[in-house]
Each structure stands twice: as structure tokens, then as C-alpha cells.
């Protein structure tokens, strides 16, 4: 009887270990990458070039589409908000507490995840299939320094910059909507926003953006590395990576909300 119970408990433990192995693996990889942020060898001309290219593909190339989306959202959200909320204080809280701190990072992370995370996942998986990792190893080029950190730093920078840009565009659009459509003075609108602005919220927003950027690039890299040397493993790897990126986005969103409302 006791042996059966021990076996049952063992099975539960094994299932738990198996179920969380991916999470543990990701966290261990994240720690490893994070520690390399402080390694001087990470910051060399080759890594900088990769970083610039990544930032170009992730943030600059997407900019026209991104700004267009931000302006459309700005008009929609501000139009609805000004119609629905007559009290300027509530409007300020809605714009700062929801649009800036929740909606802006969410839209940005979705766009970056859909465009860049999938590309990074595919790129790493293709490199693995082509045995290009062996090339780098052969020439003593550290994968974390040269391949991973520039991409992850790009994720962090892009998220912070694009989210801020999105928020600024939405708020500027709000200024237009409020003054041109609803006749609110610029001073009133700005004062309303200022009254609703909490420095702590902005700090949490920036940390959240950086965390989003870190994980939506780290996870595709890790999953891409797990591809085998067969071409057919590439789509499977991308599929797994994108699902895990989605789970990471939801998890970070929930955690940041908990921290904000504690």
C-alpha cells in the first residue's frame, strides 16, 4: 500500500517536472543570456552590426505601418472615449491607465511578435539545419554574444521605443480629436493627462515593455535552437515558438497587472 502511494507521488512529481521542464529551461536560458549582458566581449563590431540590422528590420521597416495603426487606433479610441466619458478626470485615467499602460504595449508586442519573433525563430532554425552554428563555433564566435544578445537587445529596445511612440501618437491624436472635434482646449487636455499620470505607472510600463521584448525574442531563439538538422523541423519549431511567445505575452501581462494593482 505504502509502495503504491510512493509510486503515485513519484508519478505526480515526474509529471510536474516534465510539465515545467520547458519553463525551467527557458528561465535557465534567460539567466544565462542575461548574465552575458554584462560580458564585455558581447559588445563588438560584429554584434553591433547584427543589432543595427535587427533594429532596422524590427522597428524602422515596420514604422510606416506602425504609425498608421497608431493613428487609426488614436482616432478610434479617443473618439469613443470622448463620446462615452464626459468627465475629464475619468477620461484622463482611461487614456493614461488603459491606453498608455495597457493597450500601447499590447498592440506593439503583438506586431513585433507576429513580424520579428517568427522571423527570428525561422532564422535560428534555418541556421541550425544548415549547420551554420558549427561555423560560428569553429571560429570561436560565441552564439550568445553574436547571435542571441543583439536580437534580444533589439527586442527590448524596439518594444520600449515603439510602445512609447505608439502612446505618444495616440495621445497626440487625442489632442487633435479633443480640440478639433470636441472643442476641448489644449491646456485642459494636457492638464487632464498630467493629473492622471503616475510616475510609478510609467516605470512599470517601461519594465513591462523591456520584459516583453526580452522574452518575445529569447523564446523564438531557444525554440529555434531546438530544431533538428532536418528541413521539416523548421515549421514545427516556428509553430512551437509562436505558441510559447503567446503564452509568455499573456503571463507577463497578467503579472504586470498584478504588480500594478497590489
Amino acid at each position: 500500500m505504502i509502495s503504491v502511494m510512493i509510486a503515485a507521488i513519484g508519478n505526480i512529481g515526474r509529471a510536474a517536472m516534465l510539465g515545467t521542464s520547458s519553463l525551467r529551461g527557458t528561465l535557465a536560458f534567460a539567466v544565462r543570456v542575461f548574465l552575458n549582458f554584462f560580458d564585455r566581449r558581447t559588445y563588438n563590431s560584429a554584434s553591433l552590426m547584427v543589432f543595427i540590422h535587427q533594429l532596422y528590420f524590427t522597428s524602422v521597416q515596420i514604422l510606416p505601418l506602425f504609425l498608421f495603426v497608431a493613428v487609426i487606433f488614436g482616432f478610434l479610441i479617443n473618439g469613443m472615449a470622448f463620446n462615452a466619458v464626459k468627465n475629464m478626470d475619468y477620461l484622463g485615467r482611461l487614456l493614461m491607465g488603459f491606453v498608455v499602460t495597457e493597450l500601447s504595449p499590447f498592440i506593439t508586442v503583438l506586431l513585433i511578435a507576429l513580424r520579428s519573433s517568427s522571423a527570428i525563430n525561422t532564422e535560428i532554425a534555418v541556421m541550425k539545419v544548415n549547420r551554420e552554428m558549427s561555423t560560428l563555433n569553429s571560429f570561436r564566435i560565441d552564439l550568445i554574444h553574436y547571435l542571441f544578445i543583439p536580437r534580444i537587445l533589439n527586442g527590448v529596445f524596439s518594444m520600449v521605443l515603439l510602445t512609447s511612440l505608439f502612446a505618444l501618437v495616440v495621445l497626440s491624436t487625442g489632442l487633435l480629436v479633443s480640440s478639433l472635434v470636441f472643442g476641448t482646449s489644449v491646456d485642459t487636455y494636457v492638464d487632464t493627462l498630467l493629473r492622471s499620470t503616475d510616475v510609478l505607472d510609467i516605470v512599470i510600463l517601461l519594465i513591462k515593455c523591456a520584459t516583453f521584448g526580452f522574452f518575445i525574442t529569447l523564446i523564438p531563439i531557444r525554440i529555434g535552437l531546438s530544431a533538428s538538422e532536418e528541413l521539416t523541423s523548421i515549421p514545427i519549431s516556428v509553430l512551437n515558438g509562436m505558441v510559447k511567445v503567446f503564452v509568455a505575452i499573456v503571463t507577463i501581462e497578467v503579472l504586470s497587472s498584478i504588480i500594478r494593482f497590489i
Binding site: 552590426m49 543595427i52 540590422h53 533594429l55 532596422y56 522597428s59 524602422v60 514604422l63 529596445f157 521605443l161 515603439l162 512609447s164 511612440l165 505618444l168 494636457v190 498630467l194 493629473r195 499620470t197 510616475v199 510609467i202
Partner: protein, 316 residues
């Protein structure tokens, strides 16, 4: 590569500049770069006090509570930080009140009557007094409650007076009964003394009306007895008991005044008939007493009950 570098550089520079400018603007507007004045307040209790709590003037937040300390004497010291641009609101005569609204977080309200008064010295430690919405409501409701109390006392007094056998209304009724009885006995004497059938008829009509009025007043008495359970509207409303009572009493006064005039005529006509005059004099005295007492009662009711077109007692 150079083209890419330029574009990326431009993107980072412009976006960073926008972000820095926005954060700088917010920080400037929030007074991060301006000089901040620190004042210390004291309070016997630290209840509802928290760090970061807003300090407001006329609904506008002008500063925040930066620290809370308990000194050796067990007094809570509250340090508030006020940016320089709002510092003119803090004067030596300013009062600091902790406001605890029914809904929402507490805050410190600064009440400054004279903005030209001397500025508050940072060495001074004004006391933080307490105020909250419940107390304020009770304070505001107090006069209304007092007024309601007075009205209830008056109603009780009138009710007691009406139901008291020795009270004014009962006295009127008794007088009216006596009068009626006496008139019924003096019918032949009256006719004989007056020698005027029209006057006799007029007196009889008056007596009959007086009977009707007596019945009405009696009915009112019964209704007043049950007044305790009545609502405000039933008592004071347009169709309420007390306005009716007043009308009836005024009617009674009018009728009795008419009788008074008639009796004056009788007196004049039958001046020389000694027996008749003696009886008529008694009758006149009885009428005078009745009129006077009814008048007093009506005046008292008018004085004690604030008859209004519409009742307006509103409790919180």
C-alpha cells in the same frame, strides 16, 4: 550598411528625443525640477494618514505627504512637500484638515482665508484637525432635526390640549353647549323682549349653526386623537387635519361675531325691559367669553403650527 545605420540612428534619435521630451515635460509639470518646500504638521492620531497622500486646496492637489513620524511625546508628525509654485497657498493662518470622504481616499485640505497673510514658517508645526463626510452630514442635518423636534412637540401639545377635558377646545365646546341650552330655554323670552321676529329667526339660525360647528369640532377632536399615526402630508397637507381645523375655527369665529352683532341690536332694542335685559346681559357675557376663547385658541394654533402650502421637511 551606411544607409541602414543612418535610418536606425535617425529612428533611435528621434524616438528617444520624443520620449525624453515627454518625460521631461511631465516631470517639469509635476514639479520634479522645481524647488520644494517642506512643512511639518502634527496630529494626535496617525489614522488615515499615509505617505503619498495628497494635500489639496479647493480640490486641486498642491503637494503630498512625504513622511510620517511618531515623536517622543506620542504626537504624529506629518511632513508635507509643496512645490514652489503652490507655496503661496500655505500661509501662517492656514488651517490643515484631514478630509475623509465617504467614497475615495482621505486627503489633507488646506484652508487659507487670506493669501496675503505671512507665509508659514517651516519651523512652525500647525495641528492637523479632522473632518469627515459623516460628521459634516450630521452637522448639516442638525437644524432640520431640531426643527422637526419642535414641530413634533407642538403637535403633541395641541393633541394634548384637544384631548384634555380642561383644555381650550373642550372649554369652547362646553361653552357652546351652555349657550345652546340657554338659547333654547330663552326662546319665548327672546321673542317677547325683542318683539322682532326677524331678529329671533337670526338668533335661531346662529344657534343652529353653532350646533353644527360643535359637531364639526367634536369630529376634529376625534381625528386629532388619531394624529400620532398620521403622515406629514395628512397632518400638514392641503387636505390635512390641521388646516381643516383652522378653517373651521375661523368659521366659528365668523359666525359668533355675527351673533355678537345681532345681540348688540337686541340690546339696543330691548334696553328698557329689565327682566329681559338681565337675561340678555347674561347671554351676551356667555357669547363674549366664547368668542374670546375661540379667538385665543385659533391664534395659538396659528402661532404653534407653521401651516404651509406644501410640506418641506426633508431628512437626510
Amino acid at each position: 550598411m551606411q544607409r541602414i545605420e543612418f535610418k536606425v540612428g535617425l529612428f533611435i534619435a528621434i524616438t528617444s528625443l520624443l520620449i525624453m521630451a515627454s518625460i521631461g515635460y511631465v516631470a517639469y509639470k509635476k514639479g520634479v525640477f522645481s524647488k520644494v518646500h517642506t512643512y511639518t504638521l502634527s496630529s494626535k492620531s496617525g489614522d488615515n494618514l499615509t505617505e503619498g497622500m495628497p494635500v489639496a486646496v479647493w480640490g486641486f492637489t498642491i503637494g503630498r505627504v512625504s513622511a510620517l513620524e511618531l515623536n517622543d511625546q506620542g504626537i504624529v508628525l506629518i511632513r508635507i512637500k509643496i512645490p514652489d509654485r503652490h507655496n503661496r497657498m500655505i500661509r501662517a493662518n492656514s488651517k490643515f484638515v484631514i478630509d475623509k470622504p465617504l467614497i475615495g481616499s482621505p486627503r489633507i485640505i488646506v484652508q487659507t482665508n487670506n493669501l496675503n497673510a505671512l507665509p508659514l514658517s517651516p519651523e512652525m508645526v500647525p495641528e492637523l484637525t479632522e473632518s469627515n463626510d459623516i460628521n459634516e452630514i450630521i452637522k448639516r442635518a442638525r437644524p432640520i432635526v431640531d426643527k422637526a423636534d419642535r414641530i413634533m412637540a407642538n403637535i403633541e401639545h395641541i393633541t394634548a390640549s384637544l384631548s384634555d377635558p380642561a383644555g381650550d377646545v373642550n372649554r369652547i365646546l362646553r361653552n357652546a353647549e351652555t349657550l345652546t341650552a340657554r338659547f333654547s330655554k330663552k326662546d319665548s323670552l327672546l321673542a317677547m323682549a325683542v318683539g322682532d321676529p326677524e331678529s329671533v329667526k337670526s338668533i335661531h339660525e346662529a344657534i343652529n349653526k353653532l350646533r353644527d360647528i360643535t359637531v364639526k369640532v367634536d369630529g376634529i377632536l376625534k381625528r386629532v386623537d388619531g394624529m400620532a399615526g398620521k403622515t406629514d402630508e395628512e397632518i400638514y397637507g392641503q387636505d390635512g387635519i390641521l388646516p381643516q381645523l383652522r378653517n373651521i375655527l375661523r368659521d366659528l369665529l365668523g359666525k359668533l361675531a355675527k351673533i355678537d352683532v345681532t345681540f348688540d341690536n337686541i340690546n339696543k332694542v330691548s334696553y328698557e325691559a329689565a327682566d329681559s335685559a338681565k337675561d340678555l346681559k347674561g347671554l351676551r357675557n356667555a357669547l363674549d367669553e366664547t368668542v374670546k376663547s375661540i379667538g385665543n385658541l385659533a391664534d395659538e394654533i396659528d402661532r404653534k403650527i407653521p401651516f404651509k402650502a406644501r410640506p418641506e421637511i426633508k431628512l437626510p
